[in-house]
Point group: D2
């Protein structure tokens, strides 16, 4: 069975827009937080350490698909339930389900890749095959 990490978020006043509901890119920000929290919970060190030891700068997004079912507002506590649905050779797929209690607020599917700086041009980053040890740690 795959691992699930639950990332708890309190919605704040400044996260909401003039309609009084969460400004949607914040949901994607919380999914991103939950992705990193997932890897930390699996035992991975912070990216800054992985960059020093193995050149890995993080897991930039290649693709994200989010469906919004219900709004949330400030003062509420929500949870992002995060798993890895699929490991491919060079990418993996996250699934994030955002809930308030039993109510699903939104769902996101992300495709990400582990990346390093391009040795030929340190300003650029490039995807690498998913490291086997990391995959083993997180499955």
């Amino acid at each position: 069975m795959s691992k699930t990490n639950i990332h708890r978020v309190t919605v704040h006043w400044g996260d909401c827009d003039p309609a009084g509901i969460v400004f949607f890119p914040n949901f994607n920000k919380w999914m991103d937080q939950s992705s990193l929290a997932f890897f930390a919970a699996c035992g991975l060190p912070p990216w800054r350490e992985l960059e020093r030891t193995r050149g890995i700068v993080g897991t930039p997004l290649l693709e994200i698909h989010t469906r919004f079912m219900r709004p949330a507002t400030y003062g509420e506590t929500i949870e992002v339930h995060t798993t890895v649905e699929e490991w491919s050779n060079k990418t993996f797929r996250h699934r994030h389900v955002v809930k308030r209690g039993d109510t699903v607020l939104c769902e996101g599917t992300e495709v990400r890749a582990f990346c390093m700086r391009d040795p030929a041009d340190p300003e650029r980053i490039k995807a690498i095959p998913v490291p086997e040890d990391i995959k083993a740690l997180c499955s």
Copy 2:
């Protein structure tokens, strides 16, 4: 032919993450800005005026799909090219192409709906059919 609005954005230091590239939810924020700029360019008044005159609080997102091809960094100027690809009865579909010069950085497809406050519960909002006059103005 459908209308296209171009929303110009300068990428700033604080928009970038420790990898030195744009933190991705900012791309979605800029698409959201470009959506509103699209409607303003078509002649729609601000939401706060539409809320007063017609009860419309905005066009919340139902769904968004974004593909990221290349990163951007601070100091760069990028453009979000926004159109309405399709008008349905209760929803419409935006297409946003984000470019730096001729290079496509990312592409987003959004499904949105015009919404009002629910008369039965002003804390809730609900989708209404796309107003014909707004559709005519923006097509």
Copy 3:
């Protein structure tokens, strides 16, 4: 003795800038969260309820002074310790001390006022005297 509320914050990747440290306006965002958390902990209802029942839309900032002593980075947990240092007739002064363990990272002093919408122009907001019952609840 005055009440103190402690607001716990986990620093995330997207809160940090290309130097790898917290982008400073986020500290002010966390102080703002802590201000609201202070009032909630004292028993005040959310602003949206206070707006309905008493016309109070919140406590906009009039002035803020922040000193930054040490940076923070992602993966760290920090605390914002918030008090009301002084209640004046129309304003009050918050003190926020942001700590990582025993280390003070930054300190902020905010002057805020309780505000209502201007009856003559609902687009404008104006300060009101600090409500006595709220002051009593929070002192």
Copy 4:
């Protein structure tokens, strides 16, 4: 006479809070943007280039004092007028005046320092004396 840079900002929907006005940390974000724009306008290269060539990672804030006079809302265009008020040995003081037309919305005073990574511990950054050539370029 000292140089002034004007940084133009359009206020967007997502910059505003449930009271319909700019969430205040955004003003500080725009002042930060304007600080960097000031240095760019004076002829300084981006920080990532200065880090490579001279080890300078940026000009982190030591202190900021902001006074808010009037709110702003989405759809408005505002300007941040930025100068260096004073150059000290290890720090300098920015003054930012944020205007909408002739109306001053808020004013900020920032103390900043040019910083490098600490050679003894690259995770830490430390202030350096203001480089004379940079000061000459920007005065």
